[in-house]
């Protein structure tokens, strides 16, 4: 299986952030396709699609503040799922609140990154994600 071809699932409701994230990741010349879920329910909807045979993502970039079902709930369901709990979930959010950080780690997120405002810093973050989660890290399939 070619891991690099597995998609990155970006769960983000703001189109600007979607665009900027895509641009930041594209800057790293990442080959993996990027799939976008615009709210919590859509993100959880992917579980059924994976069951149906679609490829599971190499990493999920999850915003916490989402319409319909919030990010922490999405995280909880993913990490409690018997089959897909091993998919790395990187929380990528504006919140730097301790309680959000603590709750996210308690629910099993693999990394918690505060979205920087400055685009240059954002580019650095995207680079880190690509290097660690897409190139170095190996997850159990």
């Amino acid at each position: 299986m070619n891991y690099n071809l597995n998609p990155i699932l970006l769960v983000e409701d703001r189109l600007i952030d979607v665009d900027l994230t895509k641009r930041a990741l594209a800057g790293r010349r990442l080959l993996n396709p990027i799939e976008v879920a615009r709210d919590g329910e859509e993100a959880l909807g992917y579980i059924a699609r994976w069951e149906a045979g679609e490829p599971t993502p190499i990493v999920i970039l999850l915003d916490l503040k989402l319409p319909k079902t919030n990010g922490l709930e999405v995280l909880r369901q993913l990490k409690q799922h018997p089959k897909y709990s091993s998919i790395p979930v990187v929380v990528l959010t504006t919140s730097a609140e301790d309680r959000d950080v603590e709750e996210a780690y308690r629910l099993g997120c693999n990394s918690y990154i505060v979205k920087p405002v400055e685009f240059s810093k954002f580019m650095e973050v995207a680079s880190q994600i690509e290097i660690y989660w897409c190139a170095i890290n190996k997850t159990l399939r």
Partner: protein
């Protein structure tokens, strides 16, 4: 040489003897003078009948002597003699008594002779010329001497003991209306029946009542007779003296006592001497009253009044009864005439202790009422306390509810601020991101001014981002849970200083540290943040100062540690020392010293939350020192107790 000395001694002795004789004579003369002075008083002789212990004599004697004490004219010599003719009968005895008195009082001047009752009066009248020829006589007797005798010599006056038979019988009939017979008991040594005759005269005019006389009977017979009297009878006791089996004279009161013991009928008497010896009572002449009255007459004579000028009066009489006899015969005390003297009253427990009992009961009631009042008061106080407690509980509950509501509101506000701050960041990211992309990818299509505008947009975005971060930090202090713990100050300061030194590495600042090992009670996150803000502040305001220098130090007080950050920066005017700790307050334009005006506000708030204190001292142009005061920890103190 010896002869003249002896002669001188003899002369001396003779002189002493003469002096002694003179002294003796002088003393004797003084004694005579003293005796003459004594004789200047008055002397009275009372001749009683019977003996000293006869009840009538005792009562009379006491009252008479008391009455004499009212005399103002000097001392009174009082003599008492007893003509015991009822025991020592016969003319011979009278003569012996006469001789005895004559010899006894030969050298004494008697001013008044009192005789009580008839036998002494008769005796004195008989021997007056021999015994007391020129002495006034005052008598208390049944029989009044004839007028010729009254005026003879120094004169005679006195009181006549008139009969109270009639008054007594009238009173007896009022008390016992069903009386049918009266038995009059009397007896004299002479058996002359004079008392019977007197009674006979007095008790005439009662056709319904049969009057019987038991006169001059032996004691046994009197007792036997009185035990078998018909129903509805009463006895009248006058005077009865008897001899017992051994020939001993049993006197009148004693005889009455023996008779009364066995009598089945009440005994009325006409002399107070018998009340108390078994007589029920009656209209009596009272020996005490008579004694007092006779004393008054004697005093008048002492004061110069002639007996002839004092008319003979009737001895006073009044109703007197024995309470015990009233009880014995079932006679109601309330039926007695007003003014009746009731003697020998035996008080019941209630009568005797009435006022004490009333007092005790009153005291008891008073005490009871006091206790009652106290109990009521205690009850009221308890109820008041209960209602106060209830009110307090309600108040506390209300405070809890209000506090909870306030906490909720506060949390809502914080949550609101937090959400707003986060949401503000998202569009900022867009502005920054696209302006950056514009600059990177379309720089060629822009002129210099366009590129400058984009840079301004970027720096403004950065500033806005910082402001939002600081605001979030400020609001986070309230929301974050304070974790008070023992913090080792030196290592904490070392870490922070090293970090700041590294970050400010390119600024060429001399950042020195001088902190001893000390442990404080603090929230380490809050303390780190406060210290960092102080150092950042110092770095900022030493910018542009030649040889910028920052020193971090600490000193210990008795129960706290004061941490300070000193710089040689631009300083500030002390009038702003409080203002600089308020949020959004800045003393310098943002262009010169960029900042949000939140850093020091975060420090003060953080210190307040951990029970510490933050302040600053400065002079414009001479640098500033910022202080933090934190409680010192003692190793024994449990951390929980130190929670602010």
């Amino acid at each position: 040489m010896k002869q003249p000395e002896v002669s001188a001694a003899r002369e001396l002795l003779r002189d002493i003897g003469s002096l002694t004789l003179l002294l003796f004579l002088a003393l004797l003369w003084a004694g005579v003078l003293s005796a003459q002075t004594k004789n200047a008083g008055k002397a009275v002789l009372v001749i009683y009948w019977d003996s000293k212990d006869f009840p009538g004599n005792v009562g009379f004697d006491q009252a008479f002597q008391a009455g004499l004490k009212n005399y103002q004219g000097g001392p009174i010599e009082y003599y008492a003699e007893y003509l015991d003719s009822n025991r020592f009968t016969g003319e011979n005895q009278l003569e012996l008594f006469r001789d005895y008195l004559r010899q006894k009082y030969a050298e004494r001047k008697i001013d008044v002779v009192v005789v009580n009752p008839d036998p002494p009066l008769d005796f004195v009248l008989k021997y007056r010329t021999e015994l007391f020829p020129n002495v006034p006589i005052v008598f208390l007797a049944v029989r009044q001497p004839p007028p010729a005798q009254l005026s003879a010599g120094a004169g005679i006056t006195g009181l006549v003991l008139s009969s109270t038979h009639k008054e007594t019988l009238d009173l007896a009939l009022r008390l016992q209306p069903d009386i049918e017979q009266v038995f009059v008991i009397s007896g004299t040594p002479d058996r002359d029946k004079r008392y019977e005759e007197k009674a006979h005269r007095a008790l005439e005019g009662y056709p319904r009542i049969k009057i019987n006389y038991l006169t001059d009977l032996p004691l046994d017979e009197v007792i036997a007779r009185t035990q078998n009297l018909p129903e509805r009878s009463i006895l009248f006791w006058f005077w009865q003296q008897s001899a017992d089996d051994h020939g001993r004279i049993v006197k009148s009161p004693e005889t009455l006592g023996l008779l009364a013991k066995t009598s089945r009928h009440p005994i009325y008497a006409m002399n107070s001497a018998y009340v108390g010896h078994g007589a029920l009572g009656g209209y009596v002449v009272d020996s005490g009253s008579n004694g007092d009255k006779i004393a008054q007459i004697v005093l008048k004579i002492f004061n110069g009044v002639r007996p002839q000028d004092l008319p003979v009066e009737r001895a006073p009489s009044s109703p007197m009864f024995d309470w015990r006899e009233l009880q014995r015969w079932g006679i109601d005390e309330r039926r007695l005439p007003p003014g009746t003297v009731v003697s020998f009253r035996q008080f019941t427990f209630w009568e005797r202790y009435k006022w004490r009992i009333v007092g005790v009961i009153a005291l008891f009631l008073l005490q009871t009422s006091f206790i009652g009042v106290l109990l009521v008061e205690r009850g009221r106080r308890r109820r008041a306390k209960e209602s106060l407690d209830q009110l307090n509980a309600q108040l506390e509950q209300r405070i809890e509810v209000r506090t909870a509501a306030l906490d909720r509101k506060s949390r809502e506000l914080e949550s609101f601020a937090y959400s707003v701050a986060h949401d503000l960041k998202a569009p900022l990211r867009g502005i920054d991101g696209y302006s950056r992309l514009l600059l990177d990818e379309h720089a060629k299509t822009l002129n210099d001014e366009g590129r400058s505008f984009l840079k301004t947009i970027q720096s403004s975005t950065e500033e806005m981002s910082q402001l939002i971060d600081d605001l979030l930090e400020y609001s986070r202090i309230e929301r974050r849970e304070m974790k008070q713990d023992h913090v080792e100050l030196r290592s904490l300061v070392t870490t922070v200083v090293a970090q700041r030194r590294r970050e400010a590495g390119n600024c060429q600042i001399d950042l020195a540290m001088n902190v001893n090992r000390a442990s404080v009670i603090a929230d380490s996150n809050g303390l780190v943040q406060s210290l960092r803000n102080y150092i950042d502040n110092a770095i900022k305001f030493t910018h542009g100062v030649p040889e910028p220098k920052i020193e971090v130090g600490a000193r210990e007080t008795s129960n706290s540690v004061v941490l300070w950050v000193r710089d040689n920066g631009i300083g500030f005017d002390m009038k702003y020392r409080d203002k600089i700790f308020e949020i959004f307050q800045r003393l310098n334009p943002g262009e010169d010293f960029p900042g949000t005006g939140i850093g020091l506000a975060v420090v003060r708030k953080s210190m307040e939350r951990m029970g510490g204190h933050a302040w600053a001292e400065s002079q414009p142009g001479k640098g500033a020192t910022f202080y933090l005061e934190i409680s010192k920890s003692s190793p024994e103190a449990p951390v929980d107790e130190l929670q602010p």
